[in-house]
Symmetry: C2
Subunit: 124 residues, 2 copies
DNA sequence: CAGCATCCAAGATGATACTG
DNA sequence: CAGTATCATCTTGGATGCTG
């Protein structure tokens, strides 16, 4: 028996409170992209296909607030901003990376399962 | 250089298509809950705090369609239905488990980071 | 017990335009 | 370049009531 007596999935515990933040697509993709080196705003915008400027901006702010990434502005003209992962974020990023690559490697198998399911349950 | 030349984050690749499914709270919690043994519908409903019957039903169906879990109905009166994880689901579940427990163990640190951030950026 | 159907409110996200 | 602001939309998900 673990050293806690509350339900892991309960909404009261801190882990649950912030699990919503990390269990979303953009959070994971950004974290994974920052894993190796700092990246600038527009670079992320270009490389993470499908994300809008609004969502990128919003997600980055949340990640910074949660202490998972840092934001550094360089006084160039025009301004340059680099986002980098923190040590804490790095620990999360490793797991996220595994998850993303699981999806990458098993995507086809899942698509096949879907097709089989749909074929079996097709209506008239 | 890896053996693929497309963007991992691109919406075109299969992994991305189904990444939305797995990167959500309920999917992860259900998968994690089924990791050790099969569980019945109402049992899941009770143990995964905060989930509604609708979301549970909906998420279970998606997971079954994706070949990550199986649904078995026993002809008892009233009917009993057990959901169990598949081998494919098991491989995903392991990673998800790490993620959930990351949240569990680092929740406080993140909450602290949030408090610090909010204190520094408080408006007048 | 294990669901499905319907209605509806709230939040998430996209599009567009503007700024330091 | 790196954002913010506003508006419109579109999905998500909760509440409720019904069924085999």
């Amino acid at each position: 028996m673990p050293d806690y007596n509350y339900n892991v999935y309960a909404s009261a515990c801190p882990s649950r409170i912030m699990f919503d933040s990390i269990s979303n697509k953009w959070t994971m993709f950004i974290l994974d992209r920052l894993r190796d080196q700092p990246v600038r705003f527009n670079q992320l915008l270009r490389e993470i296909e499908g994300i809008s400027q609004k969502m990128l901006s919003q997600t980055l702010k949340t990640l910074e607030r949660d202490g998972l990434i840092t934001r550094t502005a360089f006084p160039t003209v025009p301004v340059t901003v680099e986002y980098a992962i923190t040590p804490l974020g790095q620990t999360l990023s490793s797991t996220v990376h595994v998850l993303i690559h699981w999806a990458e490697h098993n995507g086809d198998e899942i698509l096949a399962a879907r097709a089989a399911y749909d074929a079996k349950n097709k209506q008239v």
